[in-house]
């Protein structure tokens, strides 16, 4: 059997005795794009932080590419990367300097060529010699994505990658993510509040609520199960607990 790219086993994270993540288990196969949905405080960011090894689970285990993230994280980290609007790149450095630094940290060979490819791919050629702190939100997101793909990661974690972007830029970012996934066969886990984004990109959706997995399935299957036309309606049902699973409406 093929080894899953990410395997979470009975993950629990307690803060002062209160569960932020409460015994979740899931596996993500290689070459898959999964959405992690949930309201504020549902446990999405905590889950992603545990997958990256930034946070120690109270109990349970996370394996990425077969490596236990508590004991042997460095075996996996060189094949992973992460984008979040809540983490910045050093603002005083130019875009090129930032990409050089992270390229070297990931020991990327032919780094100048790789930066050239990413500059074309993300249309940041004209930004390369500008300080990162002087870029607009959309430009910063493109640069962050370029940084996240500098090592051609096998596992890419995205925490609300299109938050605060205008619809056009957000659409552009989604197209790039789709292309990267189809070209590289990477495993992508996308935490988002944007239902359209999840519906468009993800072949599987995990819905979290109060630290637990409330539902898990393909977007089509979830729509059918809740008898809704959009994932947003499904999300509202789950978040408000206003309705149980319904019979399919057809």
């Amino acid at each position: 059997m093929t080894q899953p790219a990410i395997a979470a086993e009975r993950l629990v994270k307690l803060y002062q005795g209160r569960p932020a993540v409460d015994g979740i288990s899931f596996t993500l196969p290689a070459d898959s794009l999964t959405g992690l949905l949930g309201g504020n405080g549902a446990g999405k960011t905590t889950t992603i932080a545990m997958i990256m090894g930034l946070l120690t689970p109270t109990s349970g285990e996370v394996r990425v590419l077969g490596a236990d993230m508590q004991r042997e994280r460095f075996r996996a980290l060189k094949h992973m990367n992460f984008v979040s609007p809540y983490i910045d790149l050093p603002m005083r450095l130019t875009v090129r300097q930032n990409l050089m630094v992270f390229g070297r940290l990931y020991c990327v060979d032919d780094l100048a060529d790789r930066i050239g490819v990413l500059a074309r791919e993300f249309d940041i050629h004209d930004l390369l010699d500008r300080p990162t702190g002087r870029l607009s939100s959309g430009q910063k997101t493109r640069v962050s994505l370029a940084k996240a793909l500098i090592n051609q990661p096998k596992v890419l974690l995205l925490d609300e990658p299109t938050a605060s972007l205008d619809p056009d830029t957000a659409d552009w970012v989604r197209a790039r993510l789709e292309r990267y996934r189809s070209e590289s066969g990477a495993t992508i886990l996308l935490a988002s509040h944007n239902m359209n984004e999840v519906e468009r990109l993800c072949e599987r959706v995990i819905i979290m609520k109060k630290g637990q997995i409330e539902d898990d399935g393909t977007p089509a299957r979830l729509l059918q199960r809740y008898g809704r036309l959009t994932l947003e309606e499904v999300f509202l049902d789950v978040a408000r607990g206003s309705s149980g699973i319904r019979e399919p409406v057809l």
């Binding site: 803060y15 090894g53 983490i87 910045d88 790149l89 450095l93």
Partner: protein, 295 residues
Amino acid sequence: MLPAAVRAYVNPFFDRETAMRDSMQTALSDYTDSLRRIAAMVGRYSYVMRGSWPRLAELVYWPAVNMLMWGFVQTYIGQKAGYFAQAGGTFIGAMLLWDILFRGQLGFSISFLEETWSRNLANLLISPLRPVELAIAMMIMSLIRLAIGIVPVSIVANVVFGFNVYGMGIALAAFFMNLILTSWAVGILVSGAILRNGLGAESLAWTVMTLFMPLACVFYPVAVLPSWLQTAAWMLPPTYVFEGMRALLIDHQFRADLMIEAFALNLVLFIVGATGFAKLMDAARRNGTLLQTGE
């Protein structure tokens, strides 16, 4: 082609040799990758430093102001009191050595603070950069910052006050090594506190070394302290260095015994610093503060 029986006998040796060669290549590759990551971080901090002339100027400004002030104090007192006339350069020497200790720790901690100020720490912690590689990069930056700050000031001290710190020779190397080890050990511990407590612990980076100043007896001999404080003073490695400096400048005697004792204490301090950092990092991973560091 070898007969099967001979192959069966010989293959394990070849397999073992191949395995050993593979593991050596892996170790070499790991070592090279490690050096690349350290160089990446040194490059990262150098970009920041080169891109800001006020930061560069600040590296020289305070050591220069301190050295000039203490230099003139020494000149004045030296004209009035015979003892100080004999103790040529103790104030200037003490100030220069103090700056190695203070600026060495600050240079280390500022590199770490750069990551929290720019909210970049999580990017580093999810990269293959090991904590020990980050620490080595910060040590290198601390040396670079010190060189930029102290070398020009030491030349000015020679020109203006006739005090040649390099005239201390091998003793200067011993003083420097002990002071920089103390500064790094404290810097590592402060970085751990910032990891654990976020920027709330930033003020530690600027002030922790001043706790050493009265007890390390920078400008006066240990004998001046009350006896109960002398015990505490002798627990600090810099105390041995400043006593050693006075022995050199006043009695013209290099006290190797003091340097060895300082080195032994520094080893203990370094182990405490590294262990403390590892424990604070673990606590930060448990408490979830690694994602929240920033302004």
